[in-house]
Amino acid sequence: RTMTTDSSSSSSSPMKDAFTKYTQYLNTLNEKRERVVKASRDITSNSKKVIFQVHRISKHNREEVLGKAEKDLKAVTDQYVSQLVKELHGTDFWKLRRAYSPGVQEYIEAATFCSFCKSGNLLTLDEINATLLSLSDPSLEPLQINVLDYLLGLADLTGELMRLAIGRISEGELEFAEKICRFVRDIYRELTLLVPHMDDSYDMKTKMDTMLQSVMKIENACFSVHVRGSEYIPLLGSSDPSSFLSGVPDIEL
């Protein structure tokens, strides 16, 4: 016994050498994971701010609001996503995915949200990944967001779009709301076909339920605007029942 404990405390042995290596490996890995988690939290909270910025949109301040949102988003990319890019290389992309996935999802949510409000289209994964290329040291394999995180972020996007649609309807931007409705329906339908193929579809399945709720909330809102508007088509003589609210002269307050 004496010898044994000695051997592990002072003298060297192959086992001890090997375990010294394992120890270093685990320490390095855990420390990197911690740094990645922190970077992910930063990305999350700052992406959320971008999302709130976009929600400040209204008929009259579109350019201004979206301009600021894009600037903020760029700052998230340059300051915080670049942290991830610095940390992650090679096998880390998948090994540490759970550590950074929440942040990346929120970032996807913010980027696609901005982009939809600006262009009315879906910002694609390739486009996002292209912007990340510039952050990387060209000699290293660049960080590329994977399809799964992109799709999970997209699922959350629909929740934000629902909130946006409800708000837009109150301000009479029915056409914008209807555009959102079509867009969200399309995403929902496309995802219906994709979800079963996803690596670990459990999270996504709950998100799909929430997404269907969001779609229906928008549909119900469009419905109530529509029936309310239809009631007076003859009265107003409007030829376009779908944009009845915008047909009503602006309310003077």
């Binding site: 959320k48 109150s170 609210l245």
Partner: protein, 229 residues
């Protein structure tokens, strides 16, 4: 010995804290009871009872609330710096209180009750015991939830100008809330609900407008919504 001594000390501290909590609970139950009276009173606006009278009665009760919050502050003053330790014990009741006094204030003046005004009404402005801003904001959301019902019942009772006023107020309020960066928490959820209030009021306003029922005159000052009508 040292071990037992320390745990004995802890026991005393925790029991003190427990009895403090009991005292808080007692005051909070009183606050809740007063709140219920105010609420019952204010509910009558949905039945189109004369508002000034209702407000009169409700204001008397706010005095009671003030006294109760004062007592709560006294209790809390025994444990300086521990406001947030016990915060959960009066949080939800205070949010309701804010919603009620903000509704009263709006009925009377047509404007939003500010945080500092709310603190003043409850006598919380010059003590360490103040009104948590998130509680204030949640309370304002609760108030917003009452407005669609109010508008519907006012229109039913023949007040066709009400939707316009409420719509303006709620639009401004919603715009102000949008300045906040919220986490995924209770307040965010409540704020999301405000969009539906706005939408519903918009609908009623549309109903009234489209039928030509809305008043054409435009002269509302910043006085009360009902106080002067």
């Amino acid at each position: 010995p040292s071990l037992e001594k320390q745990f004995e000390d802890f026991r005393v501290q925790l029991e003190d804290s427990g009895s403090l909590r009991e005292r808080i609970r007692a005051v909070v139950m009183e606050i809740e009871s007063t709140t219920r009276l105010i609420h019952a009173n204010l509910l009558l606006v949905h039945q189109s009872r004369p508002t000034p009278e209702l407000l009169e009665k409700a204001k008397a009760q706010v005095g009671v609330l003030k006294e109760q919050y004062n007592r709560l502050a006294v209790v809390l003053s025994e444990c300086p710096g521990q406001y947030y330790r016990y915060h959960g014990d009066w949080r939800s009741e205070t949010q309701t209180v804010v919603s009620l006094i903000a509704f009263m204030h709006w009925l009377e003046t047509g404007t939003l009750l500010m945080h500092s005004e709310a603190e003043e009404m409850l006598g919380l402005n010059n003590s360490e015991f103040n009104l948590d801003i998130e509680d204030y904001l949640v309370g304002i959301c609760f108030m917003s939830n009452e407005l669609p019902r109010y508008v519907v019942n006012q229109v039913t009772a023949g007040d066709y100008d009400c939707p316009r006023k409420v719509l303006k107020f709620l639009t401004d309020l919603h715009a102000a809330f949008r300045m906040l960066n919220l986490r995924n928490d209770f307040l965010r959820k409540k704020f999301d609900g405000m969009k539906y209030d706005l939408k519903r009021v918009e609908e009623v306003h549309y109903d009234v407008k489209i039928r030509g029922l809305a008043a054409t005159g435009d002269a509302i000052g910043e006085q009360g919504i009902k106080g002067q009508s």
